[in-house]
């Protein structure tokens, strides 16, 4: 998976760099980014190593000594520079499983570094992938997982149950000394068994009852392959906190 010589097609390369396929075409046409051409159609293929090198050549590149794996997720990893204890309710749009896992792991890793208790809410498969990625990333992530500072769960059956769950667990953790929290949620898990209106109801309640009440930074992930355009616009408008940040930090 992390072999630097692995060849990625243009869609995978675009997801890796968090950019559009058009940009990749432009950069390869201009010679700024290396690619290989295969087959009669001369389709582009990209080495991970070339993508990493291209990313490194941009201003704001990682400090020397950063591992390749960490560099690979840099675009997302430097995204959430929110002070611990702050309150923020953000959303992200992703178009691949890889993108969702990248966003989640970068977001959660930052929370772990600052000592936050982290919640991961989504299907078992998504949670498993996120944990696997976190375990790979660093020893500190492993330590957080071992110390139960990462709490994994499905979404509850109703919005009220979910809000109650968060409130109970956050109050409990606070009594045990926790000062800050992060919540990552894969919103499709709610949407797939309810409706667009139910998602909206959940988000509104969460915003009022949890996000504005506790020192929580929340990232709600919307998979664009599954949501309608209208729902995505509602999501963007419903998370005005993202307007304080460059939007591309939330696109994967």
């Amino acid at each position: 998976m992390n072999d630097e010589n692995e060849l990625l097609d243009i869609a995978a390369a675009a997801a890796f760099l968090h950019v559009s396929e058009t940009s990749l075409r432009r950069w390869t046409n201009s010679g700024r980014l290396a690619c290989l051409r295969i087959g009669q159609k001369r389709e582009r293929r990209f080495r991970r190593a070339d993508l990493l090198a291209f990313m490194e050549s941009q201003p704001g590149r990682p400090a020397a000594g950063t591992t390749n794996g960490e560099r690979g997720n840099l675009a997302a990893a430097r995204a959430y520079d929110i002070s611990p204890g702050g309150k923020s309710h953000l959303c992200s749009l992703c178009s691949s499983d890889e993108g969702l896992i990248n966003l989640a792991s970068a977001f959660l890793q930052e929370g772990m570094r600052e000592g936050s208790v982290c919640f991961v809410v989504g299907t078992p498969k998504v949670r498993q992938e996120i944990v696997r990625r976190l375990e790979k990333k660093s020893k500190s992530s492993r330590a957080s997982l071992d110390a139960d500072r990462v709490i994994l769960s499905n979404y509850h059956a109703t919005p009220q149950e979910q809000w109650d769950y968060f409130e109970t667990r956050i109050r409990e953790a606070t009594r045990n000394g926790a000062l800050s929290f992060r919540v990552f949620g894969d919103i499709w898990e709610i949407r797939k068994r309810t409706s667009a209106a139910a998602v909206l109801e959940y988000e509104e309640g969460y915003d009022q009852l949890i996000a504005k009440q506790f020192p929580v930074v929340t990232l709600c992930a919307y998979d664009v392959r599954k949501f309608e355009g209208v729902e995505l616009l509602q999501a963007l408008k419903g998370h005005p906190d993202i307007m304080r940040h460059p939007l591309d930090r939330f696109l994967a």
Binding site: A14, H18, V19, S20, E21, T22, S23, R25, R26, W27, N29, R32, Q58, P59, G60, L93, C94, S95, L200, E203, E204, D207, Q208, Y222, D223, V224, R225, K226, F227, E228, G229, V230, E231, L232, L233, Q234, L236, K237, G238, P240, I242, M243, R244, H245, P246, L247, D248, L251
Partner: protein
């Protein structure tokens, strides 16, 4: 959280560091190429009318491109707000058209009109593009040619502010994400 049917929606730009909801007072910078999302006909007008109107007020040549039904609605509202609108059209300060059939033709259209305007001493331009017209009539390959050409040939060489408006009722989630990325991911330097 807010979900009232507010017509002014969401935009991102390449040069701005933050996304924001559009309003009449939002200032634009020459060279900006923005994506805007709307979910109603009123939303399209709320995006397009002030953008075009402000362009005309500042003396820019304004391109209004999209399906006739969409541009007609915008023009109707513009006519209420600007008495000299017909003169703007007749004198080539407001250029209204549907999308051309290919990316190259669309680029040539821009270049010829811009060239003519610049020869006449006008050097400031705005483009408001209703993107559902492109989606309906232009292949994704042609769209790629248009996007690359617009960013490489038009934006860097002319004093242009462009806004591409995407109807979230028509475009899929994947297309919307691609559009947002397209309007944000120019590499530094």
């Amino acid at each position: 959280m807010s979900h009232e049917p507010r017509p002014t929606l969401f935009a991102v730009s390449q040069k701005g560091s933050a996304a924001g909801e559009l309003n009449d007072g939002l200032a634009f910078t020459v060279g900006e190429h923005l994506a805007a999302l709307y979910g109603s006909d009123a939303g399209l007008n709320a995006l397009g009318v002030p953008f075009v109107l402000n362009g005309l007020h500042e003396g820019s040549v304004v391109f209004l491109i999209g399906p006739e039904s969409s541009t007609r609605r915008i023009l109707d509202q513009l006519a209420v707000a600007r008495a000299g609108l017909q003169a703007d059209i007749e004198q080539g300060r407001l250029l209204v058209s549907e999308h051309q059939a290919t990316g190259r033709e669309q680029l040539d259209y821009f270049q010829s009109r811009i060239g003519a305007a610049e020869q006449g001493g006008l050097d400031s331009f705005r483009l408001f593009a209703v993107m559902r017209g492109i989606r309906d009539n232009v292949s994704s390959d042609e769209l790629g040619i248009l996007e690359e050409g617009f960013e490489n040939e038009v934006i860097p060489n002319h004093r242009m502010i462009a806004m591409c408006a995407y109807d979230v009722r028509v475009f899929t989630g994947t297309e919307i994400l691609a559009a947002l990325k397209q309007h944000r991911d120019r590499p530094p330097g």
